[in-house]
Symmetry: C3
Subunit: 329 residues, 3 copies
């Protein structure tokens, strides 16, 4: 999913299964943290991982468990060497691990569930590889969304897994006022980066943004663009200011902006406009999907990013004005 | 989607982006009105457009906004010349524009939303082109259904967009009696044509039917067939008579009958039977989907037509008895 | 779907429509009963059919109606000879027929609905053939799940079809205690086989298991494995003991185990482990899907089996360790 990943074809079945060293596997697990934001850079991954531990030891620990287990699963099942070492089989496990502790609470059974979630994330990453490649699409964080959807829906049915809704999963009643304060604005701007990892703390987002700039100034700038477009769109539509301040309306736009701006499209003015439009569409979609998932007791996760990006990427072959980076080679 | 569209392959990415004249673009916008019913005929489109303005200036205006914006979007993004001039990128925008005023009410913000809906309809038409072409399917009105689903679900979350449920979107409590009166019958027969465009007035449907006969006697007859099969199926199953009279149970059957009877299948007895079966299946599906969409606060739109037609069209390669028009060439 | 079906390619459109004798058609209808469990064996099919009549004349009769109508539909529409005679167009109709009497009750209209369900199951089997073959997947019982979903959702809207929820469709309030008794265990073990056909009676399951062993010791053993894995997983997660005893948590695992163990994968240790994991994942998924379908008034049917098997089968091309039987040829 990183720019590197385009050449080595994360989207096609492995030509051969090759030897892994443990060091490569460990680097794959680390890179998986950055790959959530499409970055294979080790420094970027390290900074984001530090930010997760800063957010709280539980977040950090479950992210680490997810990364390690997902990577080991991929290695054990002999997924292609490059996919594993670039973290492409890992990033969904990172998010899946965090989702478990956020939505199930920190109980012994949650550790088991985090392991299960990470294993399943790796498998579903392969599934979406098969299902989406024929359309020129990639899995993005879809596997994490699917696995977490299923786990969060099913958990309350099982006595040994479910110990009541944890505090971290309670959405407090938010005031619906659309009048955005300065605090909402700047905190929202940073929370948009951390909310990708279920964290609502602005300085965690700040550290993550620093990590993204480490991966490249272009990466950092498109992350900033996504955050700004997300806030502006949500404000223009009249979304509740409190949710804007918590990053709820912007984290998907950040991912969409990174996807189109850095990974998928060439650097042209038309493509830049398309990226802005995609980030805005993602923000609007966030409300629809929140309503939908609330109806049957699940959560939005990064569905808006995935659905908007899949839809707008699949449209590109018909739109001569928009040009894919992949067509360069 | 019209019979013309089969040859010039609306389903494949454009071979070249060619010059458009403004006149061609305008004709494309007009043809988009007829393409809702699969017709590229200018006269047919004109008559249906008149019928929409007869139904009310708001319906007419928003349909026109949708047609113009969707067509301009396609031209701006350099969609292939023929798709634009035949109205194939326009018809979903027409329906999307009307849906906005029906479900959001006539407010200044609704004009902005209609523009957004039309732009998105054009993009999602391209998306479904990519996703469905490998299966030999076409987008039909799926893009409109998807965009309207998302907009109607999300709108109440946004203060600046949502001004309460408008009168036009309120479904009055209908008596559940299945005993169909003569008035239900003949009004339903005509409303089945207008209900495709969210209009419940029988004489609007009558004008539209005249437009369809202008496009060809075969077109008119299959529209009539769809309407009759829809009413008979709904009556046989015991649907509420009031809904039959409002065209709720028949408008999808009209579209399915036009799709299979005029656009997709050759003129054989077996294919005729398959068309009738498809129209009946569409009617039955209407109830299931209405229940489903009501559960999470959306609407049926033309989902039953799309889903039934996709399913039964995808089945054809396995059924030697049923023969596609496309295989002639 | 049986092991035989792999060679003759149930997944590709018919090369030619060939003559059917009535005897072949009749055998196809009978084989359809066994094909629910992936078996084309006539003896196995006969034993399962007997078990269905033992479960009650209504179950037996509607299964028979479904089998006959689905097979005749396929023959009438000239589906390829082998698909029909191997029962591959029939098995969904068998389940669809039973579902109608269970969820609508035994009324005259239900016979009409069973015929409609069987016809639609055959058509949707063809649909999924077209949609899934490009991904290397097969329809499994997906057509039955889709058709029953639609019928159960839509039925209450139609006066002439709906006569109130029948006793057979009422789920009694189950105690949520996860403490499994010995009776729960052994009754659940056998009910897991019968629950595939909506039957909760342990000795019906016992007869069916005997039928599976008739089709081959390997078939019987993987059915046993699925049932055991289903019970163990449900117990470990803390599912309500009463539901385990009724086979609710295990019937999908039986199908998944048969699919991966007998039909899809080669006999290696890694593949065996993957089959166990798939059966466990299916069981966990059962809870999520039950919650989901309950929300909008439908039922779980064999969705967990289909979704888990599609997902894990689509993942295989990326997992060098797991090897498909189909790659042998």
């Amino acid at each position: 999913m990183a720019s590197q990943s385009i050449e080595h074809g994360a989207g096609s079945p492995p030509p051969k299964s090759s030897a892994h060293t443990w060091k490569e596997t460990a680097l794959g697990a680390l890179r998986g943290v950055g790959q959530v934001d499409f970055q294979a850079s080790l420094w970027c991954s390290l900074v984001i991982l530090v930010a997760l531990w800063v957010a709280g030891w539980e977040i950090g620990l479950f992210a680490t468990i997810g990364a390690v287990v997902a990577t080991l699963t991929a290695r054990l099942l002999a997924v292609s060497h490059d996919s594993v070492t670039q973290g492409l089989m890992t990033y969904c496990g990172v998010l899946g691990g965090i989702a478990m502790v956020v939505y199930l609470g920190n109980h012994p059974s949650t550790y088991v569930m985090a392991v299960c979630a990470a294993v399943t994330c790796t498998l579903v990453t392969a599934t979406l590889g098969t299902l989406l490649t024929p359309f020129g699409l990639r899995a993005f964080t879809g596997p994490f969304c699917l696995v977490s959807l299923v786990m969060v829906l099913g958990a309350p049915s099982f006595e040994r897994v479910w110990h009541g809704t944890p505090e971290s999963a309670v959405t407090p009643a938010t005031p619906k006022s659309p009048y955005v304060s300065w605090t909402d604005l700047w905190q929202g701007f940073f929370s948009n980066f951390s909310q990708i990892f279920f964290v609502e703390t602005w300085y965690v987002g700040l550290i993550m943004l620093a990590g993204l700039f480490l991966a490249g100034w272009r990466v950092g700038l498109f992350a900033v663009l996504g955050s700004v477009v997300g806030i502006l769109t949500a404000w223009a539509l009249g979304a509740p200011a409190a949710l804007i301040g918590e990053g709820i309306y912007g984290y998907n736009a950040v991912l969409t902006s990174l996807a189109f701006g850095v990974v998928l499209l060439r650097a042209t003015a038309w493509n830049f406009a398309y990226t802005v439009l995609a980030a805005a569409a993602t923000t609007a979609l966030t409300a629809s999907l929140s309503v939908l998932f609330e109806k049957f007791g699940s959560h939005t996760f990064t569905w808006p990013f995935n659905i908007a990006t899949w839809a707008l990427l699949a449209a590109v072959p018909f739109l001569s004005r928009i040009t894919l980076l992949a067509d360069d080679s």
